[in-house]
Amino acid sequence: MKANMQIALLAALCLGLALVPLSGSTYLVYLATQILIFILFATSLNLLVGYGGLISFGHAAFFAIGGYSNAILLTTYGVPVLLALPGAMVVTAILSAIIGFFCVRLTAYYFSMLTLAFGQLVWAVAFKWRAVTGGDDGFLRVAVPEWLATPSSFYLFSLLVVALAVAVLWVVAHSPLGRTMMAIRENETRAGFLGVNTRLVQLITFTIAGTFAGLAGGLFSMFNRSLFPNSAWWLQSAEVLIMVVLGGIGSFFGPMVGALALILLNRLTLQLTEYWPALLAIILIVTLFFFPNGIAGLFGSRPAPGLRDERGEKSDA
C-alpha cells in the first residue's frame, strides 16, 4: 500500500513539475532545470556514500567526464543528442570502472583520498588538454539541438531523463547489489565470509554511481551551453557531498531535498550577501551537529542503517 502510494505521489510530483514552464518565468524554468540536474548528481553520489559507506571526494570527476564527453560528441563530432548522452554515459562508465578499480582496493580514508586524487587528475586533464576541452577558456558553444533550444523544452527533456535515471537508481538501491552494499558497509568481513565478492560489488556500485553522475554532467553541459575544468574541481565534489549530507545520508530521497535546498539557499543568499561560502560552512556545521540524519531525518525517515524505514514499507505492502 505505502509503496504504491509513494509511486503515485512521485508520479503526481513529476506531472506537477512538468507544469513549471506554464508559469511563464524563464528564471524559474532555469532554476528548476539546474535543480533537476543536481538532484540526479546527488542521488548518484548517495548510492556510494549512503548505501555503500564509501565517501567519495572526487565524484565531480565523473560529472565532468560525462559533461565533456557529451559536449565533444555533440559539438566536435555532430552526434545527435539521443546518441551523444548515452555515449557520454558509456565513456563515463568505462573511466569510472578504471578509476574505481583502484579506489575500491583501499578502505575508509584511503579510499576518500584516492577519489580526491583522481578527481584532481581529471581536472588537470580538462585544464591542460586544450585542443579537446578548451582548457581554462572552457568548452564554449555546446551544440544543443534545435528541439532543445528553448528553456522550456530543455527543462521537460531534463525532467524526463532525470525521472527515468532516478527510477533506475531506485531499483539499484533496492536490488540484491544495493542490499549487499549495505551489508558490506556494516560488516565487510562477514559479507566476505558469506561468499560475497566485496570488491566487485563495490566496483560495480562505483561504476553505476559514476555513470549517472556522467549523465547529470551531460545534461549540465547542454544546460550551461559550456563547460569549464572547475566542474571537476574538488569543491564541486564537496558541494554535492554536502547536498547528500544536508538531505540525509542513506535515505533514498533525502539527497534530492538536499540538492533542492542547497541550490535555493545559494540563489537566495547570492542576492543578499557575498558570503555564500561562509553560510555554506555554517549550514554544514549545523547539519552535522543537530541534524545528523539531514532534512529527511527531520521528517521521520531514519537513514543511517538505511534499512529500518524500508522494512516498514514492506510490512505495510
Partner: protein, 245 residues
C-alpha cells in the same frame, strides 16, 4: 576433506601458530583444543584465509585454499562463524539471512531488479536455528545467545560441506551451552556436514568429538581419537593436568 599442512603465522616476532598440521576426514567432528592463547583462533583464521599464512598450505577436497580471498574460500564449500559475534547488527535477523541467501545464489551483483523476499529459504534457515520468532528483531539488540544462533545461521547460509565454528559456546551459560551444542550436532547430522571447531570446555569436546587436536604455544602436540589424546602424557602435562579452563 580438509588438510592443513605446516601452516605458520608470526606477529612481530611472536610465532602464534607454528607448522600446524591436521587432517579432517569427511563427516568427522574434529575439535581443536588448547589453553587460552594457544593459537586456536589464529589457526582458524589461517584455515579460512582471514589471516594470510607465512608458510604452509590448506586444502579442501584437494583444492588449495591458501591465498584465496574469503568469498572464494566460502564458495569452495566452507562456512565459518566467529568467536566474537560477527553479524549485520543494524539489520533485522531476516535481513541478515537474506544477505546470506543472496550470496549463496551468487546474486550479489544483480542490480537490475529489486531484491526477492526468498520467504521459504529464509524461514527454513530461521527455523533450523530457532530464530523464527525473532525474525524481525534488530540483530544487534538481541541477547548474546540469540546472536550466536544467528551467527550459526549465517555460517550455514551458504550450505557448506564443512562447518568451522570458532568457540561456538564462548560466553554462554551452562544451559545455553548445552542447547547450542545440541543444535550444532543436530544440524551437522541432518545436513551430513563435516565439523571443525575450537572449544575450551573439555566436557563438551570429549562428549562429541570424533577426533581432537591439541594446540599448545602454537604447535599441535597431539592429534587423535579422544581416548588417545586423553592418554597422551604431554597433553596431560600442558592441559589436562590443570583444572579445565
Amino acid at each position: 576433506m580438509l588438510e592443513v599442512d605446516g601452516i605458520t603465522k608470526s606477529f612481530a616476532g611472536f610465532t602464534a601458530v607454528n607448522k600446524a598440521t591436521l587432517t579432517v576426514g569427511v563427516g568427522q567432528v574434529h575439535a581443536v583444543i588448547g589453553p587460552n592463547g594457544a593459537g586456536k583462533s589464529t589457526l582458524f583464521n589461517l584455515i579460512t584465509g582471514h589471516l594470510t599464512a607465512d608458510a604452509g598450505e590448506v586444502r579442501l577436497e584437494g583444492k588449495r585454499l591458501t591465498g584465496l580471498p574469503p568469498h572464494a574460500v566460502v564458495r569452495s564449500g566452507l562456512g565459518r562463524s566467529f568467536q566474537r559475534i560477527s553479524v549485520f547488527s543494524k539489520m533485522s535477523v531476516r535481513e541478515n539471512i537474506q544477505i546470506g541467501l543472496v550470496a549463496r545464489e551468487r546474486e550479489e551483483l544483480c542490480f537490475w531488479r529489486p531484491l526477492r523476499d526468498r520467504r521459504r529459504d529464509t524461514d527454513e534457515l530461521l527455523e533450523t536455528v530457532g530464530l523464527i520468532d525473532e525474525q524481525n528483531a534488530t540483530a544487534g539488540q538481541m541477547s548474546y545467545g540469540k546472536q550466536k544462533q544467528l551467527e550459526l545461521a549465517l555460517a550455514l547460509a551458504g550450505q557448506p560441506r564443512i562447518l568451522l565454528l570458532d568457540e561456538p559456546t564462548a560466553g554462554m551459560s551452562p544451559r545455553e551451552t548445552d542447547e547450542c551444542i545440541e543444535l550444532v550436532m543436530r544440524v551437522v547430522k541432518e545436513r551430513g556436514m563435516t565439523l571443525l571447531f575450537t572449544e575450551h570446555d573439555m566436557n563438551i569436546v570429549f562428549g562429541i568429538a570424533d577426533r581432537i587436536s591439541v594446540l599448545h604455544h602454537g604447535e599441535i602436540i597431539a592429534s587423535g581419537a579422544p581416548e588417545e589424546v586423553r592418554a597422551n602424557t604431554s597433553v596431560q602435562e600442558v592441559y589436562l593436568g590443570r583444572p579445565a579452563r
